[in-house]
Symmetry: C2
Subunit: 176 residues, 2 copies
């Protein structure tokens, strides 16, 4: 693992507290990518049992959660009906996700994650530590900092599940 991922500290290009938060987001992402490295479409689509989400669906979920929080915080508004319906399968997972989130190679998910993340980094770079403490208009109980911590936290939660599921894929020798 790159040495820079193992330190949480101010980062060039961001105000100090935003830099520390970006360090957490980046570290979390690096562990997600490590957890899915080398998986093929069959692995990504595999359902461990009839209530499980596939690893691919969990990656799609991670991406769309970040996208939803971009709307909630950078645009400071609720999701539109369109966004809500377009993202519902990946946001809510479950039966709908099992039906629709299939057949994509790892590169598809990785590219989606990277594109969305780049937008997050650009938007965070143009904000400051004062912004981070503001309440989110569409959900005033949370503040911007909690929202972005939660994006990392939700990803880490599902990475824990991805590791568990990967270790039990058919024909996987080891697991992580």
């Amino acid at each position: 693992m790159e040495a820079s991922l193992l330190r949480i500290e101010p980062l060039p290009g961001f105000t100090p507290t935003i830099g520390r938060l970006v360090g957490m987001l980046t570290y979390a992402r690096s562990t997600t990518l490590a957890a899915v490295k080398g998986l093929c479409v069959t692995d990504l689509d595999h359902l461990h049992d009839d209530r499980s989400n596939s690893i691919g669906a969990l990656l799609a979920h991670v991406a769309v959660v970040e996208q939803a929080y971009q709307v909630l915080t950078f645009e400071d508004r609720e999701l539109s009906a369109d966004e809500d319906s377009k993202w519902a399968g990946a946001l809510k997972l479950g039966a709908e996700g099992r039906r629709t989130l299939r057949g994509k190679p790892l590169e598809y998910y990785i590219e989606q994650l990277a594109t969305i993340r780049q937008h997050t980094l650009d938007a965070l770079a143009s904000r400051d530590d004062g912004w981070l403490e503001r309440s989110v208009r569409a959900a005033p109980k949370i503040n911007m900092h909690w929202a972005w911590f939660h994006v990392a936290e939700d990803e880490i939660n599902h990475r824990g599940q991805i590791r568990w599921l990967r270790a039990r894929l058919p024909q996987q020798a080891g697991g992580v």
Copy 2:
């Protein structure tokens, strides 16, 4: 959920960046406790398959990881041979954990987690944001802030697994 858990911001009794970190640790812990609420000894000891860790073992792991990072950061030293051997079952999980981490009620784990957490909070309250950026002597690639972010991150990873395992406990109607 308490409103204060949904904001990451400076906290009374801590320097500002440490306060934000404490907010993350506290939020993560609250979700772990919610994920295990109401479980009995049989639930806590249940093994989903022959390679799974029980939910109880995962709680013991969360506690001992925090304890190990207390040594690494607050005492700024490596684990002693004694600590290493005493904590190995819970730190490494797997076969040894499956054999030894059994038969305890939820209250046992909760009390262990709370006692260890109190020590963390007391120690963090007596340190400052400058300390948080220092390298950890026993593992100089990481800094104190990463170490404590990692304590939360490891807990969240396993909470993701706990939620998955809980939803599949025998005779559980729903899951979380």
